[in-house]
């Protein structure tokens, strides 16, 4: 499964994506974020205030409690500044 990072999160991590294989206990997107943070200090620190981030699953914004199931691509999205 691919995890994408954008904007200043991508910059802080110094990479745009990770290819990950989470263990079976990682059921929801929230679980995935917790699992990723536990493995990466920079990500953990960058997401100290998790409420500001939105998450997408296969290019659709979804709630944090959405199952990851057979997701192909997850993205962690800092607050958007388009328009």
């Amino acid at each position: 499964m691919k995890v994408l990072y954008f904007a200043w999160l991508r910059e802080r991590l110094n990479r745009a994506s990770d290819e990950v294989s989470p263990p079976p206990e990682v059921v929801t997107l929230a679980d995935l974020v917790a699992w990723l943070r536990a493995q990466d200090e920079v990500l953990d620190h960058a997401m100290t205030n998790p409420a500001i981030f939105k998450l997408s699953r296969d290019a659709r914004i979804v709630p944090w409690d959405t199952p990851i199931d057979g997701a192909r691509e997850i993205a962690i999205l800092p607050p958007m500044t388009g328009g």
Binding site: F6, A7, S56, A59, A75, L77, T81, G83
Partner: protein, 148 residues
């Protein structure tokens, strides 16, 4: 119509094409966002990062929601990404309705949702380097007023 593009576009031509595509409308509201450089804090460019697949999906959803909610005849969103210089058009929304109130509400709704839900991130290029534009709390407030 939804378009996520790195190419420049002509706002006037888009306005005319959108209007010409419909005969039964009475009211058309457009919003155009333009790269600004303030004299006291100039920028040389605005760099927009984008997640294109998600942008296409989210903009399509926002458009469809606006059309249904305000009974719009049509709505369109065009949004650029990449490097834009001051004066260039960043994005445009168009809302067409039988009457002016729905057209204005529809266009404002499109803008308010787009500001918080469309995956674009702005970086300002200045003499001292690049800096990320911070999300504004008032954008969340503006979106929240449509909650019901």
């Amino acid at each position: 119509m939804i378009r996520v593009t790195e190419k420049t576009f002509d706002p006037g031509a888009e306005l005319n094409a959108f209007q010409a595509a419909h005969t039964e409308a009475g009211a058309l509201v457009s919003f155009t966002g333009i790269v600004r450089s303030k004299p006291d804090d100039p920028i040389s460019a605005l760099i927009l990062e984008c997640y294109p697949e998600l942008a296409e999906n989210e903009l399509a959803t926002i458009r469809q929601t606006a059309i249904e909610r305000f009974s719009l005849i049509d709505a369109a969103i065009i949004h650029r990404h990449g490097r834009l210089v001051p004066g260039e058009t960043i994005m445009m929304v168009l809302a067409l309705a039988p009457h002016r109130r729905a057209a204005f509400d529809g266009a404002q709704f499109l803008m308010d949702y787009l500001k918080t839900d469309a995956p674009f991130w702005k970086q300002e290029e200045t003499a001292t380097g690049l800096r990320w534009v911070e999300a504004k709390p008032e954008d969340d407030d503006a979106r929240a007023r449509w909650a019901r």
